[in-house]
Amino acid sequence: MTEPLLEASGLTRSYRLPRERLFGATAHRRALRGVDLRLEEGGSLGVVGESGSGKSTLVRLLLALDRPDAGEIRYRGREVRPGPPRGLVWFRREVQVVLQDPTASLDPRATVRDIVAEPLECLRVPGDHDARVDEVLTAVGLDPDAGTRYPHEFSGGQRQRIAIARALASGPKVLVGDEPLSALDVVVRAQILELLRDLADRFGLSLLLVSHDIGVVRHLCRDVLVMKDGEAVEQGPAEDVLRSPSHPYTRRLLAAVPRLPAAQET
């Protein structure tokens, strides 16, 4: 087995719930209960689950935005510890994220060029930043002239392209997507899905995609991990898991997905 690029073991995280009574004991909610995962170089892993399954907590931990109560994360064998930004520059250059809602994730007062160049500056990436911005804007199918405009001048799909360009700017090896297609209309969703697949191919990216949408995961990911109540109930090659799920929850989840009638000729 090859050495994993990104590996997590025994990730556990609890949150304190708001107190119901002034002197009552504080209750805790265990959002993650010992999750292991590995992402190979050039691999693609889809994390599937419903609300409250712990997906978002998992993403926060994998991006070192939050500290696990137990367990650890390694990138190419090196431990990733959340802490001062300076200590994580090496990791942030390698692992970047695309979030669900590009309206919320892009600064409305910054030009597209400033938005895309920001990680280059923050992470002190060497090289010609202007040229790099042009390069990634072209890679996501935007005209480099778009750089002088502001996010509100773009449609939802184009905004998500800008967010992807920003994620690609520092030349990462891993792209984490937290529901990157969920806020998009169906036609645009298909286009951005195709773009992600194409970019992963061209830049040799490994994908970690968190989604409630099993269709998207099936089209983009080789492996899948199914989460429920903070636990990974099933993981393995997407084809096997989706074709013959072994855990009852996976079966229930797959049975609930609405299907289109088969096309006339397939």
Partner: protein
């Protein structure tokens, strides 16, 4: 018998035509799926039917319910029909419910307003309605607040309120889009059961072809405010005739999950 007859419905907002000559027919107890991407005019069509268009919108054409023209009626006349003959379930159950009103009062409000139920009978009716939509522990749930319920439970409350007076027509605008898939499946089954039980006609609006095809046999596809294709969904989805429907369907297939994918199409 024709229940709803929409003819040449046009809606303009700020000089822009957002619904452009839509014709729709729905029989008593019938069902129709209205399909379109965002901005296609599907929600505005629904709002026009129930008389809740934003003030800035101008509607023209004709909307007849039981042969009576609704367009141009006063708000007072329409509010006698809304909740009684016509009702709607919205996409976002949290914003559709009043956060400052207990669940029981919201559930019984349509019955109090339209049937003039007494306080006590209204309270009993609220419990019945909560039970009808399968809310857990109906006696207790009527005393809770909207924020204490899950998204799926809130949407059940929305459905119960809509069906409280056994309306002739239920308009459901993306009622399951904000829900998890397993919750969505339960909700679709519930809508299906209840409209059959009550003999309610259903106008089901969604961008999701797969969801619409689960609950409706007939559909109309909207693009830029126009109906571009209509007929049995089965036929539309197997062999779409218009270019827009083909594009929509191709996109849906490219992102949807299919139990038996083409071997060469599986992600590699």
């Amino acid at each position: 018998m024709t229940l709803l007859e929409v003819a040449g419905l046009t809606v303009r907002i700020g000089g822009r035509t957002v619904v452009d000559g839509v014709d729709l027919d729905l029989d008593t107890g019938g069902r129709l799926g209205l399909i379109g991407a965002s901005g296609s005019g599907k929600s505005l069509t629904a709002l026009a039917v129930i008389g809740l268009l934003p003030d800035a919108a101008e509607a023209a054409g004709s909307i007849r319910l039981d042969g009576e023209e609704l367009l141009g009626r006063s708000d007072r006349a329409l509010s006698r029909l809304r909740g009684d003959r016509l009702a709607m379930v919205f996409q976002e159950p949290l914003t559709a419910l009043n956060p400052l009103m207990r669940i029981g009062r919201q559930l019984s409000e349509p019955a109090r307003l339209h049937d003039g139920l007494s306080r006590r009978r209204a309270a009993a009716r609220a419990v019945e309605l909560a039970a009808m939509v399968g809310l857990p522990d109906p006696e207790r749930v009527v005393n809770s607040w909207p924020h204490q319920l899950s998204g799926g439970q809130r949407q059940r409350v929305g459905l119960a309120m809509a069906l409280a007076c056994r309306p002739a027509l239920l308009i459901a605008d993306e009622p399951t889009t904000a829900l998890d898939v397993t919750v969505q499946a339960d909700m679709l089954r519930l809508i299906d059961d209840l409209v059959v039980q009550q003999g309610t006609a259903l106008l089901f609006i969604s961008h999701d072809l797969a969801v619409v095809s689960q609950i409706c046999r007939d559909g109309a596809v909207l693009n830029h405010g126009r109906v571009v294709e209509r007929g049995p969904l089965d036929a539309i989805l197997r062999a779409p005739s218009g270019p827009y429907t083909r594009e929509l369907l191709a996109a849906a297939r490219a992102t949807s999950w299919d139990a038996t994918p083409d071997p060469d199409e599986v992600a590699t």
